[in-house]
């Protein structure tokens, strides 16, 4: 039997005031009338805890768009789970933060799109910067730890020092600087988002220096730009190993991007229990362990480090979800990634960013 998961990523809604062109939600966003009810989510949390989950990440879209958020926080808290609110900060008033803290939010993860108001609001597609700065203060006023989260790409990577300074000013304990991962919206906007090698060469040492300087005050987690690397990321630390995602409509996913693998048969909490899905579904067992691997992964000593990389990326770039992640230098499809870098890092004509919107 598979080990118990540690975390549940609960995507409560896909509704969001922001329109970031790298959103991790799928292109096909779930509409409000297809969202799970309060009762459904309570049952999902019960089942997740019974399965072993100890952390519940309340995310979206923007979770503040759910009027039942306080009730869901309280329920997750009553189960003994660590409750992490993942928010854009838009809609997080002082009163709202106070009431959410009082029912059991343990930690807040706040997105920041760029170092400056102009940059932030251009990427977000709305005026959000001032709301975020306020929201950060409300979080600290409740005595809660704050993580600031910034997705990095060609449009903001040159401002990395400013982003780090902004997170310090906001009082973050942790800063996650994650280079864009190319699925869904980000894949569509890849030619606008892919950083150049020159940008990364400047940014990497700035991040390393800040990690040193801020040690003990603000932890900086840096997620690499995998297209530019020789080895793939250890995606999800193995398929169906540590965490599961429930989408707004109740679809249960081994990773938040898994809907891109069109050959995967996705189960839903309306039809089956999380226990059944985690342990027995074809989707969660598809890439567990090492048996599914082909060469070069199968005989590679790094398989225990990177688990063959990302299944979604393998599927998107090679058409085979069981292939070696093509960013790996050992992958026979690495040339596909190199060609993308060559043509899209500095395209002769930069397309406009497709902003995230519900259709």
């Amino acid at each position: 039997m598979a080990e118990a998961p540690f975390g549940l990523l609960a995507e409560l809604t896909h509704r969001c005031p922001l329109q970031c062109g790298y959103c991790s939600n799928p292109l096909e966003l779930v509409r409000r009338d297809a969202e799970l009810s309060t009762e459904d989510w309570r049952r999902v949390f019960d089942q997740a805890r019974a399965l072993g989950a100890l952390q519940i990440h309340l995310s979206g879209g923007e979770p503040l768009r759910r009027p039942d958020l306080p009730e869901l926080v309280a329920h997750a808290n009553s189960l003994g789970c660590y409750v992490n609110l993942v928010t854009s900060g838009v809609g997080l008033s002082r009163d709202r933060m106070r009431s959410l803290a009082s029912v059991g939010v343990d930690h807040v993860q706040l997105s920041l799109q760029d170092a400056t108001r102009a940059g932030n609001d251009r990427i977000a597609g709305i005026k959000a910067f001032d709301r975020k700065v306020e929201a950060a203060a409300f979080v600290l006023d409740e005595g809660l730890p704050l993580t600031v989260n910034t997705v990095l790409h060609r449009q903001n990577l040159d401002n990395i020092a400013g982003i780090i300074a902004m997170a310090e000013q906001m009082g973050a304990e942790r800063l996650e600087l994650a280079n864009t991962q190319y699925y869904g919206w980000a894949l569509r906007n890849r030619a606008v988002l892919l950083p150049t090698r020159a940008q990364l060469a400047v940014a990497d040492p700035i991040v390393a220096a800040a990690q040193d300087r801020l040690r003990g005050r603000m932890e900086i987690v840096y997620v690499i730009a995998d297209y530019h690397e020789a080895h793939p990321k250890p995606c999800m630390y193995g398929w169906g190993a540590r965490q599961l995602t429930v989408a707004p409509n109740g679809d249960v996913l081994p990773c938040p991007a898994a809907t891109v693998i069109s050959s995967l048969e996705i189960e839903n909490v309306r039809d089956s229990s999380l226990h059944e899905i985690w342990h027995h579904s074809p989707s969660f067992n598809a890439f567990r362990g090492f048996e599914w691997m082909q060469d070069p992964c199968r005989s590679c000593p790094r398989k225990e480090i990177d688990f063959g990389g990302c299944r979604c990326q393998a599927f998107q770039l090679t058409g085979d979800a069981a292939a070696t992640d093509p960013v790996c230098s050992l992958s026979p499809a690495r040339s596909t990634v190199d060609l993308i870098l060559e043509t899209e890092m500095a395209p002769s004509e930069v397309p406009a960013m497709a902003m995230r919107k519900m259709r």
């Binding site: 975390g7 805890r49 072993g52 952390q55 930690h107």
Partner: protein, 92 residues
């Protein structure tokens, strides 16, 4: 290996860190932003005593009453590992 902290260091559980018992795993666990640590019995006893008042040396004395063979140096390395994982804070 992580270097141990001094015996007069006073450790405290960090803000935003929750220590609890997981009935499902039958183990003490520490919950913190983006992470879970499953603790063995010794580690759980040490973490429970990181109250911002007792020093590492004091913790070793308390635990020596309960367990045989408690070495202050082992407690100091364990606290250092907890500091590294951002579960425990020390002043200075």
């Amino acid at each position: 290996m992580t270097p141990a902290v001094a015996l007069d260091t006073v450790p405290r559980i960090r803000r935003g860190v929750k220590c609890t018992y997981d009935q499902i795993r039958s183990a003490h666990v520490v919950l913190f932003p983006e992470g879970v640590l499953v603790l063995n019995e010794t580690a759980a006893s040490v973490v429970a005593l990181c109250d911002g008042v007792r020093s590492v040396g004091d913790i070793a004395v308390v635990l020596a009453d309960e367990y045989d063979g408690v070495e202050p140096g082992d407690i100091a390395s364990l606290v250092a590992r907890m500091v590294e994982r951002r579960v425990v804070d020390v002043d200075g």
